[in-house]
């Protein structure tokens, strides 16, 4: 009953519109997907998510963000971090430590190689 119109209408790799790709960086897609996954796991409801995201957007606007849509995923990420901590999935100190660990890992990884956690603990061979 469902015909494969997808074959007749091949989609470009990224959905685009007049403004360019919908995601402008991979991290935006990851942040988007993490929110979907946490909601699917029941960590928060869509209602809680909507309220939190709205609060982040309002906060940014109050701070002078013109909010033209290009900073949207920054607000999205801030809402995600806030809810993840509030719902007890992780502590804020733990998150701060982990950020520092990724920063160290990156700085210990030769350019062009995949950055992995723990890279800073051993000598960078290869």
């Amino acid at each position: 009953m469902i015909r494969q119109v997808d074959d007749a209408l091949p989609l470009p790799h990224l959905p685009r519109d007049e403004d360019g790709p919908v995601f402008t960086a991979p991290w935006q897609a990851q942040a988007f997907a993490m929110a979907m996954a946490l909601r699917d796991r029941g960590v928060f409801t869509w209602e809680e998510w909507g309220q939190r995201l709205n609060a982040e957007i309002a906060k940014a606007q109050a701070g002078g963000d013109p909010d033209h849509g290009d900073t949207y995923y920054r607000h999205w990420l801030a809402a995600l971090e806030g809810l993840a901590i509030e719902k007890g999935t992780m502590g804020s100190g733990e998150l701060a430590d982990r950020r520092a660990a990724w920063d160290r890992a990156a700085r210990a990884t030769p350019h062009g190689q995949p950055i992995v956690l723990g890279a800073e603990t051993g000598p960078a061979h290869d």
Binding site: A31, E47, L95
Partner: protein
């Protein structure tokens, strides 16, 4: 070839420094930290995130919604089911799920033109339209769609007869709307796939109309 936008060029006095190290932007660090902790603690599977990213980047887009609209144009019974229970009718076509739990389809007629907005936080019918365009998420659209919908439509190049009323639907976390645009004149001989090609994303948000088949043929 570097594809890392955060690659920093340092001055190495004209020769390549073989041991140059990586650097992540603050935002990338935040995302990696969050994801690695959520994966470690079992809230999220790394594969799930990858799958979702791929799904939304390549599989789900406005074409899903266009198929729903085209089916409604050719199948009167489907159209009626769609208008009475959008969620269920969309599920018939194998779509639905995330962000589309409660879909309400609003039909454009010569008397009524529907426009969708989410003033609160840019809720969007992801399963049928993919990801929202940048302007949909912008504060000017979110506020002006309510205050001056006719002006917003004019910005998008849509001018409606004065007699046509504009109805604005404010989405929220529970309810997602999709506009069923009017089937364009001159589309009588087209099959369902050809009709779907006339259905733009904006026509399903209400900031556009379905394409004119003549314009498409040229």
């Amino acid at each position: 070839m570097h594809d890392d936008p955060d690659h920093h060029h340092h001055d190495h006095d004209g020769h390549h420094h073989h041991g140059e190290m990586s650097e992540l932007s603050e935002t990338e660090i935040r995302v990696r930290a969050l994801e690695s902790l959520l994966v470690e603690k079992g809230y999220v599977e790394s594969a799930t995130v990858d799958t979702l990213v791929e799904l939304y980047e390549t599989k789900i887009g406005p074409r899903n919604g266009a198929r729903v609209v085209a089916r409604a144009w050719v199948d009167e019974h489907f159209r009626q089911r769609l208008l009475s229970d959008g969620t269920k009718a969309i599920a018939e076509l194998g779509m639905g799920g995330r962000g589309g739990e409660h879909m309400i389809i609003v039909e454009n007629t010569p008397e009524i033109h529907n426009l969708i907005v989410c003033t609160l936080c840019s809720c969007y019918p992801w399963p049928v339209l993919g990801l929202p365009p940048v302007w949909y998420k912008s504060a000017p659209y979110r506020s002006r769609a309510i205050i001056d919908p006719r002006g917003v439509l004019a910005d998008f190049g849509v001018v409606l007869p004065d007699a046509t009323k504009i109805r604005v639907w404010d989405s929220n976390s529970e309810l997602r709307y999709l506009v069923l645009p009017m089937r364009p004149a001159g589309s009588a001989g087209l099959n369902e796939d050809e009709l779907a090609a006339l259905v733009t994303r904006n026509s399903m948000i209400g900031t556009g109309l379905a394409l004119d088949p003549k314009a498409l043929a040229t």
